[in-house]
Symmetry: C2
Subunit: 314 residues, 2 copies
């Protein structure tokens, strides 16, 4: 029996934890509630207690059988594990990986930003399996990213590595992004961005559309479903979304030229329809070379974080 | 006396060669003509003969005193040194680093794309000295780039790493770039791009300008000199150039987040004026973080290539 490792994905509502074989097989996964009150002082003790109890239940010994634990954290993490601030968890000036290691009898603990860690998970056992150079694009409420080169996460000198949602792509945009910028990728290709684009199109045209039934409550899912069903206005919205995703992915290729782009997050449930749309515009903005990155869907869903976290230890 | 190393920068007209101490001190540099006729079969033998003669002249022994040679090549180079095609030199399906090693009694020879190698040179002994994560932007006839992370060149899976001149930045552009794309950074911020932008502005406005004396023969240098002297039309041109350079550098920061950007190439002779302009727009497109990359001028000029090539060996 080889060593096992633990992957921890800390979210604002719950902490996902997985026990893995070092070969990548998920043995068991479970969740604990995130107690973010009181500056989040209970979060790591809760995680440690839960791991101890699971390890005991499985007849394992922490120091003998567990090679270590990896942890994805929803905020910037410096290379030594230092976290200046993690808004959702109430953490300030902490070193969570050192703290968790102490709570777990000194077994090795490593940590990283959750979006970067999810990218590592997709590289290890997901849509990018077998690749060493990968960029993950997570299209959710916002747009996150993770850049992996030669199997290592590029965190960047100031923690901005992989912040691809804030690549400026749209000069004509007038509204501000949450980051303070204008014309960010996130403003047009996140779930909220897609819905906003649909509201704008409805307001700007008289075109009939199934989306008008939902009106201002239109969601990204409504838009994608309608586009797949051939709704013209919804298709126009998605062409705009695809255009700017193509611009951003092409720019990323001109910087790090990955082997593969892995598209995840809630919006990616639209499946191959979305990939084909991105691919069309990605080709348009990369005529420089016939050989370029493939674009695929993520396959691990919400488990990408625990997979990637476990992979941090290997 | 420590080991020395050799840096070779192969250009279409001449090959620059430098002899370096392994500490980075340039001992001697010289050039040989590039004989690109006959499929470029004479280039490497000419280089080898020139190195042998210099080594002998200095009373050195090739195998005893020279740790190896690095070589910058004007085209894509795969990680094993394979070159599919190098148009300017007439090379096809070659492995120049293996060939040169054979011609030099088997001393180690490594190679890389010339723009990437120049970036490595600026990191080692130039504007980015002391940094491990650097992006070089070369504003010349075209726009080249080199991305270095953790002291290693990012060539990318398909040789597109650092092709930052072909990041799409300008949606309103209608003309095509040499790469086949539309709206590439190179179209607006290379020396030719700056001149073209000036011609367009002159044609589109009645504004008086010193640039009208040169008319259609206006150069990037004319534009930069006039802008520094306060010429309004020239300043408008340079604000546009700065805008799109700011967009591109901000995008690069959101992918790899380097410690420093080093600006080189003929256009960079405009000095701090250009840096300040790029900085202004870089700030505008990176409100997400106060901490971000510095922007500085390259300092090695045409020698960046031989420095970086020598650094390949260390």
């Amino acid at each position: 029996m080889g060593m096992k490792c633990i992957g921890i994905d800390i979210g604002g509502t719950s902490v996902k934890i997985g026990l893995f074989e070092s070969t990548g097989e998920l043995i068991d996964k479970w969740e604990v509630r995130t107690r973010s009150e009181d500056g989040g002082i209970n979060i790591l003790p809760d995680v440690a207690a839960s791991i101890r109890s699971k390890v005991q239940e499985m007849g394992l010994d922490l120091k003998r059988d567990i090679a270590g634990a990896g942890m994805g954290i929803p905020g910037p993490v410096l290379s030594d594990g230092y976290v200046e601030v993690c808004v959702n968890l109430g953490w300030h000036n902490a070193n969570p990986q050192e703290e968790l290691s102490k709570l777990l009898d000194g077994i090795p603990v490593k940590s990283g930003n959750d979006a970067n860690v999810a990218a590592l998970g997709e590289m290890w056992q997901g849509g990018g399996m077998g690749c060493r150079d990968l960029v993950m694009v997570t299209l959710g409420t916002g747009v996150g990213g993770g850049v992996i080169i030669d199997q290592k996460i590029i965190t960047g000198k100031h923690g901005l590595g992989g912040e691809i949602g804030h690549i400026h792509v749209r000069d004509e945009e007038k509204e501000h992004c949450n980051c303070g910028g204008v014309g960010c990728l996130e403003q047009v290709s996140s779930a909220t961005g897609i819905a906003r684009e649909a509201r704008r199109r409805m307001a700007a045209s008289d075109k009939d559309s199934i989306l008008r039934r939902a009106g201002d409550r239109v969601t990204a899912k409504d838009v994608l479903d309608a586009a797949k069903a051939g709704d013209e206005l919804a298709l126009e919205v998605m062409e705009t979304v695809g255009h700017y995703l193509g611009v951003a992915l092409a720019a990323i290729s001109m910087v790090v030229d990955p082997e593969i782009f892995v598209i995840g997050g809630g919006v990616s449930r639209a499946g191959q329809f979305l990939v084909d749309l991105i691919q069309k515009y990605y080709e348009q903005f990369t005529p420089i070379s016939k050989n370029k990155a493939r674009i695929v869907l993520a396959t691990l869903g919400n488990d990408a974080g625990i997979y990637g976290a476990a992979r941090l230890i290997l």
